[in-house]
C-alpha cells in the first residue's frame, strides 16, 4: 500500500471557441447591416416611386433610425452601470445633458452669450461652424466627442462618489437626485452667479446652431462632402453607426478584461468580491465613469442630430426609457441591450404612432397611441421584472444571478413553504 495519494489529473478548461465566425461574425454582421441601410437609403430609395418613399418614410424615417442609434449608445452606457455592475442608476439623463451642453459650449456661437465680456470671443480649433455663425467657440466635432467623454467621466465619478457607502436602493435615489438637479440647472441656468450675469445654459430657449461634422481625410473620396450638413441624414447615419460600433466594441471587450470581470463580481456578490481583493470603491467609480463617458458621446451626437440642445428634453422619463431598454434586451448582454434600445427607440419615436394609425384605419377608432407611451414603458418594466427578469436575449450568467435569491434568503428558504420559494430553492439546488 503506497501512502502517496494519486495526483488528480489537471483539468483544463476547454479552450474558448475561436472560430472565424465567433470572432469576426458580429463586426461583419454589424458592418453588413449598416452598409445595407446606407445603400438602400442613399441610392435605392430615391429611385422608387413616391408612394413607396412616403410609406417607407413614415414607417422608418432616417431621423428615427439615427436617433435610435444614439439611444442605443446611451443604453449601452447605462448597461455598464446597471447590467454589468448591478448599480441602479435612475439619473442617467444627467450625462446626456452634460454631453449636450459640452457640445453647446464648444461647438456653437452660444459662448458669446455666456458673459457680457465674452461677446466678441471667437475661437476655433479646426471648427466647422455653420455659415454666418463663425463667432463663439468652435472645436472640431471629433475632439468634442473626446472632451465630452472625459467631462462626463469626471461627472460620473463626482456623482458616484457620495453613493459608494450606500446600499443599492439609496444609490438609485442619489443618482436620481443628480438626474433631477442637473436638468434644473440647465433650465434655470440663464441668469446665475453674482448679479445674474452668467448665462451658462441659455435656459429653456436652449442652444442652437451646432457645428457640422467634418469628414477629415474621407473628403477626398469622390461624393463625400467636406462637412456633413444638418440634413445629410445618410452620412450622419454612418457617423452614428460608427460610434455605436465603438460603444459595442468597448462594452464587449471591457467585459472580458480585468475591469469587466470585477464589475460582474461586485454585481453578483459585493462582499465576496471585496474578499477576493476587488477594490470596491475604485471599481464602482470606474463603472460610473465609463458608463458616463458613453453618455457624453451620445449627448454630443444627439446635439448634432437635432442641431441644438434643448433643456426640456432632459427629464426623468428619459432615464426610465433607457432603463426599460436595458431591461427589455437583457441586462448585461450587449446584443440584447442594443436590439432592445433600437426597438424601443423606434417604438417611442415612430412605431407607436404608426401602429396607432394602422389600428385606427382598420377599426375606425380614434385612439391616440402615442399618448400611451407611459403605459408601454411602465408595463415593459413591470412585466419583464415579474416574468422574465433576464430580458429578451438573456445572458446565461445574468439569468443565473437574477433567478437566484439573495444571500441570506437562501438560508431561510427552509422555513418558507411558498411556491415561489420552492421553485427558487430547487433551482439553487440544481446549480
Amino acid at each position: 500500500m503506497s501512502t502517496t495519494t494519486p495526483t488528480a489529473p489537471v483539468v483544463r478548461p476547454p479552450a474558448p471557441k475561436t472560430s472565424f465566425l465567433a470572432r469576426f461574425g458580429w463586426p461583419l454582421g454589424f458592418f453588413a447591416a449598416g452598409v445595407l441601410v446606407f445603400v438602400f437609403n442613399q441610392w435605392i430609395l430615391p429611385e422608387t416611386s413616391t408612394e413607396f418613399q412616403n410609406g417607407f418614410g413614415s414607417w422608418l424615417p432616417m431621423t428615427a433610425v439615427n436617433e435610435a442609434l444614439i439611444w442605443a449608445i446611451f443604453a449601452l452606457g447605462l448597461n455598464i452601470v446597471v447590467g454589468y455592475s448591478g448599480l441602479l442608476d435612475l439619473g442617467y439623463v444627467a450625462f446626456w445633458g452634460i454631453g449636450g451642453y459640452v457640445a453647446g459650449w464648444l461647438m456653437a456661437p452660444f459662448a458669446n452669450q455666456v458673459h457680457p465680456s465674452w461677446a466678441n470671443l471667437s475661437f476655433s480649433v479646426w471648427g466647422n461652424p455653420l455659415p454666418g455663425q463663425e463667432r463663439g467657440i468652435h472645436i472640431n466635432f471629433w475632439l468634442v466627442l473626446i472632451i465630452a467623454a472625459l467631462v462626463c467621466a469626471v461627472a460620473g465619478v463626482i456623482i458616484g462618489a457620495p453613493t459608494l457607502r450606500l446600499k443599492s436602493d439609496y444609490l438609485a435615489l442619489v443618482t436620481l437626485g443628480f438626474g433631477e438637479i442637473l436638468p434644473e440647472v440647465f433650465r434655470n441656468g440663464e441668469r446665475v452667479g453674482p448679479n445674474g450675469e452668467w448665462n451658462i445654459t441659455n435656459g429653456t430657449k436652449g442652444i442652437i446652431g451646432m457645428d457640422q461634422i467634418p469628414t477629415g481625410p474621407f473628403q477626398y473620396i469622390p461624393g463625400v462632402p467636406e462637412t456633413i450638413g444638418t440634413f445629410d441624414l445618410n452620412l450622419k447615419f454612418i457617423v452614428f453607426g460608427l460610434m455605436l460600433a465603438l460603444a459595442m466594441f468597448v462594452s464587449l471587450r471591457i467585459r472580458e478584461g480585468r475591469l469587466g470581470r470585477a464589475w460582474l463580481a461586485i454585481r453578483e456578490d459585493e462582499l465576496a468580491a471585496s474578499m477576493m481583493g476587488v477594490p470596491l470603491m475604485r471599481i464602482k467609480l470606474s463603472a460610473y465613469a465609463v458608463g458616463a463617458a458613453f453618455g457624453g458621446i451620445g449627448g454630443v451626437l444627439y446635439a448634432t442630430h437635432i442641431g441644438g440642445v434643448l433643456a426640456d428634453r432632459f427629464n426623468f422619463s428619459v432615464s426610465i426609457i433607457l432603463l426599460a431598454m436595458v431591461v427589455l434586451g437583457g441586462m448585461g448582454n450587449v446584443w440584447g441591450v442594443t436590439v432592445g434600445a433600437l426597438l424601443l427607440a423606434w417604438i417611442n419615436s415612430t412605431g407607436l404612432g404608426q401602429l396607432g394609425n394602422v389600428w385606427n384605419d382598420v377599426t375606425g377608432a380614434e385612439v391616440n397611441f402615442a399618448s400611451h407611451n407611459f403605459l408601454v414603458f411602465g408595463a415593459i418594466l413591470v412585466l419583464f421584472m415579474l416574468f422574465r427578469r433576464e430580458g429578451l436575449i438573456p445572458e446565461a450568467r445574468t439569468r443565473q444571478v437574477l433567478q437566484e435569491p439573495e444571500r441570506g434568503e437562501i438560508e431561510s428558504l427552509g422555513a418558507d413553504m411558498e411556491g415561489t420559494a420552492e421553485d427558487t430553492a430547487a433551482e439553487g439546488g440544481k446549480k
Binding site: D169, R187, L323, V327, L375, M385, L386, L402, E406, S412
Partner: protein
C-alpha cells in the same frame, strides 16, 4: 414608538446585537475613528451650523415674512409627512423603496378632485360641501389603499425573494403606469387641471401673518391621523405583528403571524395615508397634474430619509422640516425654480454625512 425602535432594529444591526449579547463588553469599546470620518462629521456639523445661522439671520431681518413662510411650510410639511409615512412604513417592513407611492398620491389627488369638484361641485364652505369633501376623502383613502394592496399582491409579493433590483425596477414601472392613468382625459389630462376647492384662497390673519384656512384643515386632519398611526403601530395587535414581521419574517411566521396579510395591511395603511394626502393637497392647492406625484413623492421620500427611514416619528419630523425648508427657500434663498435642487442637495448631503437620518439607527453592512 416606531417600527424599529429598540425592539426592532434594522436587519443588520439586529443580527449583530443578537450575536454579541454575550460579548457586550467587547462591543462597548469604541472603534478607533479614522481621521476622514472625523473630518466628515465636523464638515456636516459645520453645514448644519451654517443653515442655523442663516435661519436666525432671516428671522431677525424679516420676522413677518419668516412667520408667514413658516405657516405655509408647516402646512405643506404636514402633507409631506403623510406621504412620507407611506414610504417609511413600507420600507420599514420589506425594505423596498416604493417608488410608485408618489404617483399613487397623484391618483388620489385627481380622484378626490373628481368626486368633490366634478360630482358635487364643491366651491364654497357650506355644510353640504363639507359632507362631499368627507365623502371624497373616504373614497380617495379606500381607492388608494386598494390600489396599493393590489400592487403588492400582483407585483411585489412575487418579488419578495428576488434580488433588490427587481422590486425597485417594478416600482418604477408601476409609477409610470399610474402616471399613464393620471394622464387620461377623465383623470387629470396631460396638461395641469384646475379644480374648484372648498376654501379657495380664503385666509385669516394673526397679527399681520396670513394663515390660509386650508393650512388649518390640513393640520386638523393630519395630526389626528398621525396620532392614530402611532397608536396603531405601538399599541394594537396589528402593530405588534408589523413590528414582528419587520424584525424577522420567518420567525414571525413561526409565531403564527400571517406575514402576507400583515404586509398587505401595511400597504393598505400607507396607501390610505397617501389618499388622505391627495385630498388635502387638492383642497389646498387646487390644481393637479399627472406628473405631480413624481415631484411630491421625491420630496416625501427625502423627508422619510431625513427623519430616518423606517421610523414613523422620523418621517413626520422630516416632513415638517422639509416643508419649512422648501418654503423658506421659496421666500429667501433661490426661489421656487430651484426647489428640487434644494431637496436633492439635502438628500445627497444626508447620504454623505448621516445616511441613517435624524432619528434612525445606524446600520452596518449585512454579512
Amino acid at each position: 414608538m416606531s417600527l424599529r425602535q429598540n425592539q426592532v432594529l434594522p436587519a443588520a444591526a439586529r443580527k449583530e446585537r443578537f450575536m454579541t449579547t454575550s460579548a457586550i463588553a467587547a462591543s462597548e469599546v469604541k472603534p478607533h475613528r479614522r481621521p476622514q470620518e472625523v473630518a466628515a462629521n465636523s464638515l456636516g456639523l459645520l453645514l448644519l451650523a451654517a443653515v442655523g445661522v442663516w435661519l436666525i439671520y432671516e428671522l431677525i431681518a424679516h420676522p413677518q415674512q419668516f412667520a408667514s413662510l413658516l405657516v405655509i411650510g408647516v402646512g405643506n410639511g404636514a402633507l409631506y409627512a403623510l406621504i412620507a409615512l407611506g414610504y417609511t412604513m413600507v420600507y420599514g417592513i420589506i425594505e423596498l423603496i416604493n417608488f410608485s407611492h408618489g404617483d399613487l398620491f397623484m391618483l388620489a389627488t385627481v380622484l378626490s378632485g373628481i368626486v368633490a369638484a366634478s360630482w358635487f361641485s364643491v366651491d364654497s364652505f357650506t355644510f353640504a360641501a363639507v359632507g362631499a369633501v368627507a365623502l371624497a376623502l373616504l373614497i380617495a383613502i379606500v381607492v388608494a389603499a386598494t390600489v396599493n394592496v393590489a400592487a403588492e399582491r400582483v407585483a411585489y409579493r412575487r418579488l419578495r425573494r428576488a434580488p433588490k433590483l427587481a422590486p425597485l425596477i417594478t416600482a418604477v414601472g408601476l409609477s409610470f403606469m399610474y402616471q399613464w392613468v393620471g394622464q387620461r382625459n377623465f383623470m387629470s389630462g396631460s396638461a395641469p387641471k384646475q379644480w374648484s376647492t372648498m376654501f379657495g384662497n380664503g385666509s385669516f390673519s394673526i397679527g399681520s401673518v396670513r394663515v390660509p384656512y386650508t393650512t388649518l384643515v390640513v393640520l386638523a386632519v393630519t395630526i389626528p391621523l398621525l396620532l392614530v398611526m402611532v397608536y396603531l403601530v405601538q399599541r394594537t395587535r396589528a402593530g405588534k405583528a408589523m413590528r414582528a414581521v419587520a424584525q424577522d419574517q420567518d420567525a414571525a411566521r413561526l409565531m403564527g403571524i400571517d406575514v402576507d396579510r400583515t404586509i398587505a395591511f401595511v400597504f393598505a395603511v400607507g396607501g390610505g395615508l397617501a389618499g388622505a394626502a391627495g385630498l388635502l393637497y387638492l383642497q389646498s392647492v387646487g390644481t393637479s397634474n399627472y406628473n405631480l406625484g413624481f415631484r411630491l413623492g421625491l420630496i416625501a421620500f427625502t423627508a422619510a430619509v431625513l427623519g430616518g427611514i423606517g421610523n414613523l416619528q422620523g418621517a413626520v419630523l422630516g416632513g415638517f422640516l422639509i416643508g419649512v425648508l422648501l418654503s423658506l427657500n421659496d421666500g429667501f434663498l433661490l426661489g421656487p425654480h430651484w426647489s428640487m435642487t434644494v431637496v436633492f442637495t439635502v438628500l445627497i448631503t444626508l447620504m454623505v454625512f448621516k445616511p441613517e437620518g435624524i432619528l434612525g439607527t445606524a446600520t452596518t453592512e449585512k454579512v
